[in-house]
Amino acid sequence: MLLALRLAVRNLIGAGLRTWLNALVLSFSFVVIIWLKGIMVGWDHQAKNDMTDYEIGGGQYWHHLYDPYDPLSLSDSHAPVPSHVKDEIQAGDMEPVLVVPGHIFPRGRMQSVVIKGINPAQTIWKLPTGELDADTDAIPAMIGAVMANGTRLGQGDRVMIRWRDTNGTFDAAQILITAVFSSNVPSAEAGQVYVPLERLRKMAVMHDQATILTFRDGRSQRPEIEGWILKTKAELTRQVDDMIKAKTVGQSIFYGVLLLLAMLAIFDTQVLSIFRRQKEIGTYIALGYTRKEVVGLFTVEGAMHAVLAAFVATLYGLPFLAWQAKAGWTIPMEASEFGMAMAQTLYPVYTVGLVVSTALLVTLATAVVSYVPSRRIARMNPTDALRGKLQ
């Protein structure tokens, strides 16, 4: 094996430009795969961090009737805050959120919204809830950038809001937009109006009630609470995982095409090599190699392209990947339009596992592609090969 490696290096270096062109094409696959996978890992990290910071905290308890995808469930999905979590709420480590369906009327149009009552003094989320603590004759409210774009509302604008209280009575009042925030989490922004929790409780006549209880610490084991369903951070971010998985499958096709192009070059080189180097193959056999060993030598030689490609990829890929990790990749269209938690600029994250698995994938693929044409050697007649007779 060592001899095969030694010979392979000599032969590859001796082949000159052809070797380096193949290595360059293959190195491109290395860099692009690592970069794209890095983007995926980075997106996953960023999306989960943003969801933690703007929506789910360390995890949540949901009222057992609450279903965010069923607006009809919202009227009934509220209950008094359980007494045994009040100390945690007092300490600021848990925040109750009351969810009430409603409508707003921007520029005379009617739009369904979810009104969320939230503690202006909370510190679990990065939401600028301090802005809700405003001295105004209207109800202070906060909306996300997605909502602001959709309704063309901005900070300082007033708009009519209508809701139903717990008795089923409609009521309406004016809200004043005191803050517009941007979170990269569309589900925290689209169709959501944030108002002070106590104000909403009064409006809906739901004293001390909540729909969601968000806690800060997602690491410790949380107890079950009767009438409430525990949603861990992992469950709440599963959607991101599923989406990343789906995207990864889609990307694999791209990697496949990319690898295929590189492999085609290696395959072509191997076929050409075996065709042109028949005398050399015969010589190896005459000098004491078995045909199987020559197959091994040519396979190692082909697979060594992957090693050279890794070297070439390091030369130009390392600075590029490092620069990308710092500068990030800005998506050329509005990220919020994707409807998923996604920052406008994604910062790739490269893990050791990612680099090693990519290197293994490319090397394995190269070895297989090198082996396939090399098998032909096993069927060669050494005496014909020695004379360079086409077989």
Partner: protein
């Protein structure tokens, strides 16, 4: 035969090759023996079966019928691995078109058989330099075959064949691509090595220059031994 101990015994050797729907018989019942230290040649026109016989002796091919024993190995019954082992340890080859590894230096070409035999670095260095000295190419050790003349290439091939000091060297038309001066130089080198190392050298040739050096000539005609003559004795 020169009366020395036999290292090659051939009995009733027949070799047929498939050709179209039929067969072509290249060797028709060859019976020969060769002793240690012989300087012999298979002589005959093209298509007489010289190279085929050399290939079978070199375990690169197998007999269709008959029996060939080389250095105690029955060629027809060897596995691919055993045949490779025989070539690796005991047989050196010299080819008409040199068959040097083009991207390797002269030193690396000559070193190759020793790498296969897993000799250590210092041993390899000594043996390669000895072999290059035999053929007068010490100053070309770093050159690559494309930088050498035909004569120099063939001298590298001789060094490669002799470096492991095998008991048997097979040379297939070694002077066919060389001019007279280079041919004589090469043949003198081979003759000297034959004398000094007691290596059996077996040529396949129809070159008069080679024939002039041979001590034994086996004339092949249409796959048969036509004459077997000892033409010169030391």
């Amino acid at each position: 035969m020169n009366g020395t101990s036999e290292i090659i015994q051939i009995q009733g050797l027949v070799k047929r090759f498939p050709m179209g729907k039929g067969e072509f018989t290249a060797l028709r019942g060859i019976t020969l023996t060769f002793g240690k230290g012989e300087f012999a040649g298979l002589v005959g026109p093209s298509g007489s079966g010289k190279t085929t016989l050399l290939n079978i002796i070199g375990s690169l091919d197998v007999p269709t019928e008959g029996w060939v024993n080389v250095l105690g190995n029955s060629i027809g019954t060897l596995s691919a691995k055993e045949a490779a082992q025989l070539r690796k340890e005991s047989i050196g080859f010299i080819f008409q078109s040199y068959n040097l590894l083009q991207v390797h230096t002269v030193y690396e070409n000559v070193e190759f058989p020793l790498l296969l035999l897993k000799h250590n670095g210092s041993q390899r260095r000594r043996m390669v330099m000895d072999a290059l000295e035999w053929v007068g190419l010490v100053d070309k050790e770093k050159s690559k075959p494309p930088q050498l003349s035909g004569g120099e290439c063939q001298r590298v091939a001789i060094a490669r064949a002799m470096v492991k000091r095998p008991p048997l060297v097979l040379a297939d038309e070694p002077t066919a691509n060389l001019d007279a001066a280079n041919s004589h130089h090469i043949l003198k080198t081979m003759e000297t090595l034959n004398r000094e190392l007691h290596t059996t050298l077996l040529f396949a040739t129809h070159d008069d220059k080679v024939i002039g050096y041979l001590r034994r000539m086996i004339y092949l005609l249409d796959g048969r031994v036509d004459r077997d003559e000892t033409v010169r004795k030391d």
